[in-house]
């Protein structure tokens, strides 16, 4: 009886929490933890053969991919973009907030 109670709903819940803590959360936090190990923002040189406006849209998509893994622009990386037009480009704060001009 005591054993049955030990494996009752409460125990299952505890077990679930334990599994989430040991397996799930570290996976979720992995990107962030890795990001925190970067001492300063990594420079991502983005060279693109297309035109500058299209490059800005694509840089935003690139940022979203990085963000999905816990890496934030400004804190973890900066994007330095150069397009085939060889124009020095830096986008607005809303779209590429810490993009350096080159």
């Amino acid at each position: 009886m005591a054993r049955a109670m030990a494996w009752g709903p409460k125990m299952l819940l505890r077990r679930r929490n334990f599994l989430a803590a040991t397996l799930g959360l570290p996976l979720l936090c992995r990107g962030r933890a890795l990001a925190e190990t970067l001492s300063k923002p990594v420079e991502i040189g983005f060279a693109y053969e297309g035109i500058a406006p299209a490059g800005a849209v694509r840089a935003k998509a690139l940022q979203e991919g990085l963000l999905s893994r816990g890496f934030e622009e400004g804190r973890d990386f900066t994007i330095v973009m150069k397009t085939a037009e060889s124009r020095r480009t830096s986008s607005s704060r809303s779209s590429m907030n810490s993009c350096s001009a080159v």
């Binding site: 991502i44 983005f46 053969e49 297309g50 694509r58 690139l62 890496f71």
Partner: protein, 236 residues
Amino acid sequence: MKVLFVAGHSIVRMAKAATTTIPIVALDLEADPVKDALVQSIARPGGNLTGMFFDFPDFAKKWLQLLAEVQPNLHRLAVLWDTSTAEHQVDAVSDEARARNVALQILKAHSPADFEPAFDAATGGRADAMLILSSPLFGTNPKLIAEPAIRHKLPTITFFPEFARVGGLMAYGTNLIDLFSQAGVVIAKILGGETPATLPVERPSRFQLVVNLKTAGQIGVTVPTSILLRADEVIE
């Protein structure tokens, strides 16, 4: 730490030639990275470069098949090619055209200024349709190609879905924006400590067929139901 992200056939090669130490994530939809000696193998690139690559033999077949369904009397096909991209695409289309007994007219483009003259040459050469090969030049200027295509009443197809959304007749290919997001994930893996040498080359896995019926009406072609049933997106 520094990471290079390079998008476009020739710029990928320039980056590869420039460094063997800085990690490079490449996006090149016009090449076979093993054939071009950019990586040792798809599964294990072995050097400082990995990324997303795509080459075209299968797509050449699909594009010509779609054009032939729209234009049953397809005898002459104009092909718009950005010469800064590899010849793999042209070779693949040539093989498929030969098999279908379709004559090709290859039109070279280096900049948007070449688009209009290319359409003039295509209609002058009595092309029945035009295939626009993959290139950042074409992918980022879809409207500049779609507009003369309508004026010249020429059925067209390309790799970039956006092309059909802005007035091109058809597109069968992949969503480029998704690929850039996918590249961001690859870069994140490198920032997390993995190396390009062991990160497998990825390929686009989702493809879309987009058909613009409004354009079909403007240029006087009928898109058969067989295509409409397969289309992921129909613009009316």
